[in-house]
């Protein structure tokens, strides 16, 4: 570690948010009355005072260079009195008081390659994670898949194509699910499909055996002496490739170019609007890692969205729609194959079995 400076400041926390609020926000803080979406990517909030705040939401790849941060700062100076914010899905929002400046801002953004959209019943940014850009655990890349999918979904981001309701896509590059994809309308999840290859020669040096054993949710790991090394063995039928052992012990790598890939999950949601929050459920167990454009993933996501857009009723999130039509219909309409992998076999599996005679039969 580098030497510490003379007078070290610590534990100050972030700057107080008030320092960063635009004057109109300070003035109308907590006194907003309603909002309207004016056009794709542009909305206006009206305060009780009558003040109007215009928001322009622009796409972001999230992974951005300081150059882009400076460019955003410049645009904020030019159009927004030096203020902007980012959203919980990593878009950037420009806050204007003068609606006449909106078009110019949008044009500047377009010039820089930052389209606007993602408001209301549209596809917004894909919440995602590090992938091969930074993480050791990734079963796939994050940014590359996201870029490929968003390129295909642009008509839905820009509001050129209609969706029945908000549609949230998320990606996580391994089962740790840093993108918290477990409650997304559509989730893309990197998966390993083979057990860890134990590095017996170094395990004892790098890890504690009991911690490694305890890391396994299915009890697949046992202490063992292998080739004279104090190490562990993995009972392969018990392993479902969660990589939790690798998280606690680097001597248990799972990454594998041929058998790592992606899975698709659908029907989750977070908001309490109408139905309660809900987990995403398995749609496609495995798609191959096919960089740089992951065509299989792009096709799978696009297909689900198109079928959904064509069939769901207004205000039905993907999960609400499937709830109404039933999972058998979902598989039929999307053409996705139903497999043994879809049937839960983890600890609480029984809850997902069909425990009634409520069955639909196609009338052909």
């Amino acid at each position: 570690m580098a030497e510490a400076p003379a007078k070290r400041i610590t534990d100050i926390g972030p700057p107080h948010f008030e320092k960063f609020l635009p004057p109109i926000v300070k003035k109308n803080y907590g006194k907003w009355k309603y909002h309207e979406i004016l056009k794709p990517g542009v909305m206006v909030h009206t305060a009780e005072s009558g003040d109007k705040l215009y928001t322009v939401r622009a796409a972001s790849p999230r992974l951005i260079a300081v150059d882009t941060i400076r460019m955003f700062a410049d645009l904020a100076d030019k159009y927004c009195g030096g203020h902007l914010r980012f959203t919980s899905r990593n878009n950037v929002e420009f806050l204007l008081t003068d609606p006449s400046k909106i078009d110019a801002l949008v044009a500047d953004l377009a010039k820089e390659g930052f389209p606007i959209g993602g408001l209301g019943a549209q596809i917004s940014n894909i919440v995602h994670t590090q992938g091969w850009v930074h993480c050791h655990s990734a079963a796939t890349d994050a940014s590359g898949v996201v870029k490929s999918v968003m390129d295909a979904l642009m008509p839905y981001f820009k509001g050129e194509k209609r969706l029945p309701a908000k549609t949230r896509v998320a990606l996580a590059c391994c089962l740790n699910m840093c993108g918290a994809v477990h409650c997304s309308d559509i989730a893309i999840l990197g998966v390993h499909t083979r057990p860890p290859k134990v590095k017996n020669d170094v395990l004892k040096k790098l890890c504690e055996v009991p911690t490694t054993v305890a890391a396994c949710p299915t009890g697949a790991i046992r202490p063992a002496n292998v080739d004279g090394f104090e190490s562990v063995t993995v009972e392969e039928q018990l392993c479902m490739y969660c990589a939790n052992c690798y998280t606690v012990c680097p001597a248990m790598p799972l990454n594998n170019p041929d058998t790592d890939g992606l899975s698709i999950w659908v029907g989750g949601k977070v908001s309490n609007a109408r139905s309660e929050p809900r987990f995403s459920k398995l749609a496609i167990p495995f798609l191959p890692n096919n960089p740089p454009r992951w065509p299989e993933v792009v096709q799978a996501v696009t297909n689900i969205i198109e079928v959904y857009a064509a069939n769901a009723r207004n205000f039905e999130r993907i999960g609400d729609w499937i709830e109404r039509i039933g999972w058998p219909r979902f598989f039929k309409l999307t053409g996705i194959q139903f497999t043994r992998y879809h049937i839960d076999d983890f600890k609480h599996a029984g809850w997902t079995f069909k425990r009634s005679a409520h069955i639909k039969f196609d009338q052909d």
């Binding site: 570690m1 400076p5 400041i9 610590t10 534990d11 100050i12 926390g13 972030p14 700057p15 107080h16 609020l21 926000v25 907003w32 009355k33 309603y34 909002h35 796409a59 972001s60 790849p61 999230r62 992974l63 260079a65 300081v66 882009t68 941060i69 400076r70 904020a76 100076d77 030096g82 902007l84 914010r85 959203t87 919980s88 990593n90 806050l95 390659g113 091969w132 850009v133 930074h134 050791h136 990734a138 590359g144 870029k147 490929s148 390129d151 642009m154 699910m177 918290a180 890391a215 680097p250 041929d258 989750g268 977070v270 908001s271 309490n272 609007a273 109408r274 740089p292 207004n314 205000f315």
Partner: protein, 394 residues
């Protein structure tokens, strides 16, 4: 050093969505680190595998979190990413910035790191993506001088986050930014020094729309709500109807508790309303949350490792959370929860998992909360009741 050709990832420079590869290109001319990152990433694309090693423990003095160590397994080929640590910088609540603040951050990172960032990480931090161990302390010094500080990692409390709330949203039922800031400041020690069995996240959502996904991604989810009647402006209802809104189909029929009726006038049976937000979402001009506002507290959500993913579940149906006393009560509850978790949690056991393991009733007793039917979707269906010696007539 000659730039390695990167035809595969260059493919991703094309297409309408902003490209992270272009972001790297903006820097690669002046940042050898980014140039090597591009190279290594191309290797990953070719070989369909990552090239990062398991992170070691690196950080700034006196902090146990805030930095993720990262080392390349191709450091011979790409020496400039031999070290490629990230720093997590605690974002200002609600992710508001001045251009000035952004430039300060950019300049610091230009000086000390790759120049690549995530705006923002999934937990909410500003993520500075890629630097060496030697640069950590100087970066930290400049950051704190500029009024910024690190966020959490490891078994720390994590950087709390908040929806935009009262700053721009008409539905905020409590001040999400203020609470987020207050928690962050109060728990600086917990944020910077690992002291828990595992991580702990707060997320503050101003209403049940939950725009920070708190119910899925925070150990403690604070979701704004109201207790009294939804405020109705019948004149605006009429305007919506005149403007062509199908109030029957889009509002009445979609209310999950079927407590709205409409015949020229909109009537809501507020005792039956489950506060789902739908009717307000569809008619923001006509409907507003009630005046008695506060929040529901939910505990325990997390990603699937190890027992399967969890959503947070209700532990306090309603609290007022505005004045200092209410803040203090809330933080006292948080401390009791942490204490219980500290004492009973296993290594790497999130609080939600602990509750599943030891039982919600035991947890409630321990932290001093009364059981209420609002905490459950249904009572138990198994007869395996742990009767308490003194309590069988309860």
């Amino acid at each position: 050093m000659a730039k390695r050709e990167t035809p595969m990832i260059d493919e991703l420079r094309k297409g309408p969505y902003p490209s992270f590869v272009n972001e790297m290109y903006k820097l690669q001319g002046r940042k050898p680190m980014v140039q090597d990152l591009l190279g290594q990433l191309e290797d990953s694309y070719e070989q369909r595998i990552g090239h990062w090693k398991h992170g070691g423990i690196v950080g700034v003095m006196g902090y146990g979190g805030g930095v993720i160590g990262r080392y390349s397994d191709l450091s011979d080929k790409y020496p400039n990413v031999a070290h490629f640590h990230t720093m997590r910088i605690n974002q200002p609540a609600g992710w508001f910035y001045t251009s000035q603040a952004l430039r300060t951050l950019a300049d610091i990172w230009e000086r000390h790191g790759s120049g690549l960032t995530n705006m923002h990480g999934s937990t909410g931090d500003i993520v500075f993506l890629g630097t060496t161990t030697a640069e950590l302390e100087p970066t930290f010094a400049e950051l704190t001088a500029a009024g910024f500080d690190l966020g959490g990692s490891g078994s720390c409390m994590r950087t709390p986050s908040a929806c935009v709330g009262p700053a721009r949203c008409e539905w905020a039922c409590y001040d999400t930014l203020k609470l987020c800031y207050n928690l962050t400041q109060e728990f600086q020690d917990e944020l910077h020094r690992p002291m828990f069995p595992y991580k702990f996240k707060f997320k503050c959502a101003g209403c049940p729309n939950d725009c920070v996904a708190s119910i899925a991604r925070a150990d403690m989810s604070i979701i704004g709500t109201w207790k009294d009647a939804i405020q109705i402006d019948q004149a605006e209802v009429e305007k919506y109807a005149k403007a062509g809104l199908d109030i029957e189909g889009a509002v009445v029929a979609k209310c999950p508790s079927q407590c709205i009726s409409y015949n020229g006038k909109l009537t809501i049976d507020d005792g039956e309303c489950v506060h789902c937000m739908h009717c307000l979402n569809v008619m923001p001009k006509a409907l507003r949350p009630g005046r008695e506002r506060g929040a529901t507290l939910l505990l325990g959500s997390k990603a699937p490792i190890m027992e399967g993913a969890l959503l947070s579940s209700v532990i306090v149906p309603f609290i007022n959370i505005d004045d200092p006393e209410e803040y203090e009560q809330f933080k006292e509850l948080v401390r009791r929860i942490w204490e219980f978790w500290d004492e009973n949690g296993k290594n790497r056991e999130r609080v939600g998992e602990l509750i599943q393991r030891i039982g919600m009733p035991t947890f409630l007793d321990a932290v001093g909360l009364d059981p209420e039917p609002e905490m459950i979707s249904a009572p138990r269906d198994n007869p395996y009741i742990f009767f308490q010696p003194e309590g069988e007539e309860a």
